[in-house]
């Protein structure tokens, strides 16, 4: 799993209009420049908001991607909930941090980059 790479792609996509155009024209070629697992590649190519949330993508990144995909607000929230129902709890990143703060202290090393 390469949450860092998934988020890096979305970070770039959210802020670069040229990349947005390239992605619209050829999703697979654009995604091929990032080190993604097959599941991550597919989730990004298909705009699977629920699975991306379960991967651990920060909502502040995912929300912008959903807006880019023209997903309405309440649909966006429901897609995340549906992702948890289908795939289980968030696997990494800031939303996976529980346990009295022990994991939080490690977040910089294992959360956003795991």
């Amino acid at each position: 799993m390469s949450l860092y790479q998934v988020q890096k792609f979305l970070y770039n996509l959210n802020r670069e209009e040229k990349l947005q155009s390239r992605f619209r024209e050829d999703k697979h070629a654009t995604l091929a420049t990032y080190e993604l697992t097959d599941d991550e590649f597919t989730a990004l190519a298909s705009g699977d908001i629920g699975l991306l949330y379960v991967f651990g993508v920060n909502g502040q990144i995912l929300m912008h991607y959903a807006a880019f995909l023209q997903i309405e607000w309440f649909d966006y929230l429901q897609l995340m909930r549906g992702g948890i129902d289908k795939h289980g709890p968030v696997r990494a990143g800031i939303y996976a941090m529980t346990g009295g703060g022990k994991q939080f202290a490690e977040a910089g090393k294992t959360g956003e980059e795991s």
């Binding site: 988020q7 959210n14 990144i61 912008h64 807006a67 607000w73 939080f104 202290a105 956003e112 980059e113």
Partner: protein, 275 residues
């Protein structure tokens, strides 16, 4: 002194983007009225520059090189990065204040390890405040970011020192400077829990903030904040820094947890600026 205004306000994207979905229009409009009043107060202060202490959301900074603090020294800034129809704010160019910003950076570097950038793209964290405070984008803006999104985060004790350094830097300038800190209190933005607000926690925090109760403000720890106030609660850094810069007591002008569609307890306040 050149700091002529200090205040805080919420910046959640729903404030503009989902205004039409707010079922409680009276509360929404009362909130907007306070934001417009804040704009009038800033104009009345005759501020020449507006410095926005914000908590951006991966518009400029990512985990490949994440500064704890950064100031925008560019001649201009752009925004919003978000889809304009979604945020209900048109993409635009915002004038910067490069000379003043550079002087502030030089001053602050004496005590704070501050990054700077000549390129700045604004997300809703700055665009929503500007939409209300300077809707014609005719007031030069210095954007400032405190990393509140990608842990590890700067400790609150350092945030207070940052605010103090910012005040010192403003005091050294001849230009009239207004500061607004913009961040959420408790909120779980952009997650399935969006709309959840811990009003009791918010009101306790705001009481500490308005009272300039430094010891109680700095007593918060991130683990507790995350548990009680969500990951959005990390943005209290922007509000604490602004209080430290102002030094004087605050006046809470608006707070409401009755607009969950905006995904934050909507807040407007200003501080007295004291020596």
């Amino acid at each position: 002194m050149s700091l002529v205004y200090a205040g805080i306000l919420s910046h959640a994207p729903g404030i503009t983007g989902r205004a039409h979905l707010a079922p409680n229009a009276a509360v929404r409009d009362a909130f907007y009225a306070c934001l417009h009043k804040q704009a009038a107060e800033i104009r009345a202060s005759e501020a020449e520059v507006l410095l926005v202490v914000a908590a951006e959301h991966f518009a400029n900074f990512f985990m490949d090189n994440m500064p704890a603090y950064c100031l925008g020294i560019g001649e201009k800034h752009t925004g919003p990065i978000e889809d304009s129809d979604w945020l209900k704010i048109e993409k635009t160019t915002i004038p910067g204040a490069p000379e003043v910003a550079l002087k502030i950076v030089k001053s602050m570097l004496k005590s704070v390890d501050l990054a700077y950038s000549e390129e700045w793209q604004c997300d809703h964290g700055i665009m929503v405040p500007l939409h209300f405070l300077t809707p014609n984008y005719d007031l030069p803006v210095i954007p400032c970011n405190i990393n509140c999104q990608g842990p590890p985060l700067t400790p609150l004790s350092r945030v207070w020192q940052f605010g103090q350094a910012l005040r010192q830097a403003c005091d050294e300038q001849t230009e009239r400077i207004a500061i607004v800190g913009t961040g959420g209190i408790s909120h779980w933005p952009a997650t399935p829990d969006s709309g959840k607000i811990n009003e009791d926690w918010d009101r306790e925090f705001l009481q500490r903030l308005m009272n300039q109760d430094m010891h109680k403000l700095l007593a918060y720890v991130d683990e507790e904040v995350y548990s009680q106030a969500g990951q959005g609660g990390f943005e209290i850094r922007t509000l604490i820094a602004t209080a430290a810069a102002a030094r004087g007591p605050g006046e809470l002008q608006f707070y409401s947890a009755e607009l969950p569609i905006f995904a934050v307890g909507c807040t407007v306040a200003r501080f007295e600026i004291t020596a």
